[in-house]
C-alpha cells in the first residue's frame, strides 16, 4: 500500500501560489541517483550468459528475453510464401518511416513491415518536441555538449556529433515533408528549453509534436511506392551462408501465417521496451513496445550497449488509475510548472535532467512526503501555479494536457495533477555506427532500438531528432549499397548456434522470444482469438 498523505487531504491542503522558493538541496547528482534511481535497485541486474554481450550486466527482465529460444524453426517455414525486396524496414514509427522514405528516395525497392498499423508507435505519442540548435545564441557544439553531459559522458562521440550537426537539416527535411512547427509572429521557429540543456533548442508543434510528425510521415510513406505490410510482426531474422542478415520472417496477424521476406539489407526500427514494465513501473509507451528488435538483433550477433540503463520520465499521470502511466510532457515543466510534495514544498530544480528529477520524486514518496491515492502514489505537478503566472498559456500550448484533465475529471488550471515516474525510454540498444549499421553485417538499427547516442540518460527532444537523423542515414546508406549485396542461401541457420549456446549454458528453452505483445494481451491465452498462432508450450 502506498504511503503518504491521502489524496483528498493533500488536495484540501493545497493552495495555488505563483511563486515558491526552492530550499537548498542536501542530496543531488550522482549520490541522488545511486540512492533512488531504479537503475540502481539491488538485484535488478544479471550478467548475460550467452551472445555477443556475454558476461556484461543487463536488466534481469531483458536478459530473460535476450536469452530466450526463437518462436520458430525451419519446419515452420515449409510452404511459407516468399517475398523478395531490396530493403526491408521493420517498424512503422518515425525511424522506420524516415528510413523507408530515404531508401526509396535513393531508388531502392523498399518494404516496410509493422507489428500493428503504420504509425502505431511511440513517435505518435511524443509531445515535447525535437532538438536542433537553431536559435542564434545556440550552436551545434552546445547541443553536443549538453547531450554528452546529460548522458554522463557515456554517449558515442561520433554519433552525438553527427546528430548535433545534422539536426537543423533534419528540421528542414521535416518541413519539406509537410510538418508544421509552432512559429512566432515573424515565422521563426519557437524554441523551448529541455531540462539539462544550456539553450532553448526544442522545436515543437503544440504538445502534438509526435502526432504531427507521424501523420505527415505516414502520409508520405503511403504516397511513395513503398510496400507496407501491416499487422505483421517480425518473429525472426533470416541469415545467409555467412551469417549476414538477409531478411526476416513475419507473422501475419491477419491469417496466422508466416511470410519469408528476403532482403539485401534489413533496417530494424522496432522501438523500445516500455511494455516489459522493467522494475514493475507503469509505462508511457505504446502497446507494441516490447523490445522485439533487441532480441532479434542479439540472436543474429549484434552487440548491444547500456542494457542496464532506462529512462523513467518524471511526469507520468498517477491518478486516476485508468490513465496511469500516461505522459505529461516535460514542456509543462519547461513552461515553469513546479513539482510539490504533499506538504506543498518544492524539492528539486524541476529542469534538472530527467534521471535526477525522477529520483527526487521517488525519494519524496519513499520518505513519506508523497500523496497516496489508493494503490497509486505520487507528487503534485503544480499546473495552477503556471496558470497564475501566465494565464492562458496552458490552454494555448498544451491542448493535450487540458484534454487529459477532462478525461481524468481534474482541471489542471485549478487543480494540480498527481504524477509519478513512468518507464519511458531504453537508453541503450544495438551499437551502431554513423550510418546506423549494427555490428551484425547487413543489419541496421535505428531509433530507440539502437544505443550509444544518449549514454545513460536522454534529453527531452533528442529522441525525435535521433530517429529521423539516423533513420534517414541508414535508409540512404542501405539503398546505396543494395547492388553490392547478394545472398546465396537464406535460412534460419543462425538459430542452430543460438540454441547450442543456450543449451550449453543450461538456460531454459521453454521461454520464447521476442515477446511481441504485453502480458495482458497474449494472444495464445484465448483459443478463439484470430491473431498470432499459438506458442508451442513446453510440453511440445
Amino acid at each position: 500500500m502506498a504511503q503518504g498523505t491521502p489524496y483528498a487531504a493533500a488536495l484540501a491542503a493545497y493552495r495555488p501560489q505563483a511563486q515558491r522558493p526552492l530550499a537548498p538541496q542536501t542530496l543531488s547528482g550522482e549520490a541522488l541517483l545511486k540512492a533512488f534511481h531504479p537503475d540502481y535497485y539491488a538485484g535488478s541486474l544479471a550478467p548475460l550468459q550467452v551472445g555477443p554481450n556475454q558476461g556484461e550486466m543487463c536488466h534481469r527482465q531483458l536478459a530473460q528475453v535476450l536469452q530466450a529460444d526463437a518462436r520458430i524453426d525451419e519446419a515452420d517455414l515449409a510452404g511459407a510464401p516468399v517475398l523478395e525486396t531490396g530493403i526491408l524496414v521493420i517498424g512503422g514509427g518515425g525511424a522506420g518511416c524516415a528510413a523507408a522514405l530515404a531508401a526509396r528516395q535513393a531508388g531502392a525497392k523498399v518494404t516496410l513491415a509493422t507489428k500493428l498499423r503504420l504509425g502505431d508507435s511511440n513517435t505518435v505519442m511524443a509531445e515535447g518536441g525535437i532538438q536542433a540548435s537553431i536559435a542564434p545564441a545556440d550552436t551545434p557544439q552546445q547541443h553536443y555538449d549538453d547531450t554528452m553531459r546529460a548522458g554522463r559522458r557515456l554517449g558515442d562521440k561520433r554519433l552525438v556529433a553527427r546528430m548535433a550537426m545534422e539536426a537543423p537539416e533534419v528540421i528542414r527535411w521535416l518541413i519539406q515533408q509537410g510538418m508544421q512547427f509552432d512559429l512566432d509572429q515573424y515565422g521563426d521557429i519557437l524554441l523551448r528549453r529541455a531540462g539539462g540543456a544550456s539553450a532553448e533548442r526544442v522545436a515543437y508543434y503544440r504538445d502534438y509534436t509526435g502526432l504531427e510528425m507521424m501523420r505527415v510521415l505516414r502520409e508520405s510513406v503511403l504516397n511513395s511506392n513503398i510496400q507496407v505490410l501491416d499487422y505483421s510482426p517480425a518473429v525472426e531474422l533470416l541469415s545467409n551462408e555467412l551469417g549476414h542478415c538477409a531478411g526476416a520472417v513475419l507473422s501475419s496477424l491477419k491469417d496466422c501465417s508466416y511470410i519469408m521476406v528476403k532482403a539485401k539489407s534489413v533496417i530494424l526500427a522496432t522501438g523500445g521496451i516500455g511494455r516489459m514494465h522493467i522494475n514493475g513501473f507503469p509505462t508511457s509507451n505504446h502497446f507494441g513496445a516490447t523490445g522485439d528488435g533487441l532480441v532479434l538483433a542479439y540472436r543474429l550477433g549484434a552487440k548491444l550497449v547500456d542494457l542496464d540503463s532506462y529512462q523513467y520520465h518524471p511526469s507520468g499521470l498517477a491518478y486516476p488509475q485508468h490513465l496511469a502511466g500516461s505522459l505529461i510532457t516535460e514542456g509543462v515543466r519547461s513552461a515553469g510548472a513546479y513539482l510539490l510534495n504533499a506538504r506543498g514544498e518544492r524539492f528539486i530544480d524541476e529542469l534538472k535532467p530527467r534521471d535526477q528529477v525522477s529520483s527526487a520524486i521517488l525519494r519524496e514518496c519513499a520518505e513519506g512526503r508523497g500523496v497516496a491515492a489508493g494503490e497509486a502514489q505520487g507528487i503534485w505537478l503544480d499546473t495552477p501555479g503556471v496558470e497564475l503566472r501566465q494565464p492562458g498559456l496552458l490552454k494555448e500550448r498544451f491542448p493535450k494536457l487540458v484534454d487529459l484533465g477532462k478525461k481524468s475529471d481534474v482541471n489542471p488550471l485549478t487543480t494540480p495533477l498527481l504524477i509519478y515516474p513512468t518507464l519511458h525510454y531504453q537508453n541503450g540498444g544495438a551499437r551502431i555506427d554513423e550510418h546506423g549499421r549494427s555490428t551484425a553485417p547487413g543489419l541496421y538499427c535505428v531509433g530507440e532500438v539502437s544505443g550509444g547516442i544518449h549514454g545513460k540518460n536522454r534529453l527531452m527532444g533528442n529522441s525525435l531528432m535521433d530517429i529521423i537523423c539516423f533513420g534517414r542515414r541508414a535508409g540512404a546508406h542501405a539503398a546505396e549499397r543494395c547492388h553490392l549485396m547478394s545472398h546465396k542461401r537464406v535460412s534460419l541457420e543462425h538459430l542452430s548456434r543460438v540454441r547450442r549456446e543456450l543449451a550449453l549454458a543450461e538456460l531454459p528453452l521453454d521461454i520464447k522470444g521476442p515477446m511481441l505483445f504485453p502480458e495482458c494481451a497474449k494472444p495464445e491465452k484465448d483459443s478463439d482469438y484470430d491473431g498470432l498462432r499459438r506458442n508451442r508450450g513446453p510440453e511440445g
Binding site: S133, I175, F287, G531
Partner: protein, 209 residues
Amino acid sequence: MSDTDDELVRVTINGKEIRAPGNLSTIQALWFAGYPRVKGVGCLEGVCGSCRILVRRKDSPEVAMALGCQTLIEDGMEVHFLVFPTPTHHAYQLDEIANSWEVQAQFHRIFPEAVHCRHCHGCDVSCPKGIEVEKGVELAGKGRFREASELFVACVMCDFCMTACPEHIAPNHLGLFARRVTAYFHIRPSNLISRLEELRRNEHPIRTD
C-alpha cells in the same frame, strides 16, 4: 480495488458479455476479462487512432463513434470494435506541385470529390476529437488551406470521417493535405535558414574532446 461481482459493470463487446470495474476503458475491460485484444490497440492515449469503436449506451438508441482507449465502460453499454476501411484512393506527392500558385488547381485534381459535399454532417458527428470536419472540407475547397489546416490540428487519422462520408471525400486526408501544403510552401523560418547557411559555410565545427 475490490473485484467482487456486484461492483463490476456489465458490458457487451463484440457480442460477448463481460464484467469489469467501471473505471476501466473498453480495452482495459477486455484485458481484465481475459480477452487478449491486440488488433485495434495502439498508443492507449488517444493519439494513434487505432481503437475505433461503435458505442451504444444503455437505454439509448444512438450509436456513437469513439476511441476505445478513451471510453470508460458503463453498465449496459454495447461496444463494437471496427476494422479499418480500405486505404484512401487519393494519392499525391508534394513535389509534384510546382509552386504555391498551383495548390488550388492541384487540390481539385487530387480531391475531386471535395466539392460534392452534401453537408450531411456525417464527418462532424463521427469525429472523436470534435473537429469541424465539414467546415474544413469547405474551406479547403475554397482554397483557404491555412484556415482548413488549423481545424485539423487534433486529427489522429482514425478514418471515422472517411467511413462516414457518402461522397468518398476522405476529409482527414484532405485536412492533412491542407496542413502539409501549408508547411511545404509557407514555413520558411529565418532562424533555421540562417543556421543552415552557417553550417553550409562550415562555421560550426564540433570539438569532441
